[in-house]
Amino acid sequence: MEILNLEGTEDTPKIILDKKNGIFEISGRSLPEDSAEFYRPVLEWIEKYGKDPNANTDFVFKLEYFNTASSKLILDVLSSLEDIKAMKILWYFHEDDEDMEEAGQEFSELVEIPFEFKTY
């Protein structure tokens, strides 16, 4: 399966989705002008991946900041991961960033996927 690799910019996150090497990561800042458009390829990639996923998947979110329009799309990404077997979310937050920790907790209450919280 092809790799989705997007370089991060000042208003979009870095994204690597690599089935072969088992790397699934969204990191950095997310405040694009059009969040739906930006996350469309991510959602499409996950839909394909869901048809033949790895034995287990650790999906990493390591976000420094996201705006509210992105938060809706992050929930859409999480929802699209919900039905994939042995899925786990690794939610990273900066150790003094309570808001990012709380945001992760709220997402974990909205989807049926185990979350593991980690600081960086």
């Binding site: 969040s35 509210t68 329009a69 900066h94 003094d96 808001d99 709220e106």
Partner: protein, 182 residues
Amino acid sequence: MNFIYDLHRTMMSQNLILVYQGDFTQESTKSILSMAERNLDSSGEDSSIKRKVFNVMVEALQNIVKHSDELIDGEMRSHAAIFLIGKEANRYSIMSGNPVRKSNIPGLHKKLDQINGLDKDGLKELYKEIIKNTTISDKGGAGLGFVDMARKSGGKLEFEFPEMSSDYCFFCLKVNVPRETE
């Protein structure tokens, strides 16, 4: 050219550290954010306060980009809006002003009143309720901006609608972020 000095004095007396007036786009938003960020970094502000200020700024700026109404007055058409940041000993204030059509005010007013009527837990519930049920609008918003600003502020959203003309008011919004960490 006294107005230059007057403007400068007003900015000083209102403790304004950044004022931008003009057309608001994603590009100008990014420039304003990086300018404000450099300012916060060089002042050595606490990182959690910095993040909250940044957060409120993004939502306020993107609200202007997405929702400011074009002012049409005869031949004149304008998108001009204003964005300001104030810094006092105990708080930052993120302020914006943009034209809105009078017909859009009741809905806006109702939404702001609803948010101001909620406490921390109420805001959290409203946020979860909206994010579960919302779809991204044609304008690209999730309908969560004001709720998020109120949550990051921890205080009420201050707003006024001074009249501009028979069709428009100027929507003034002020969101405070305390500088003391709890």
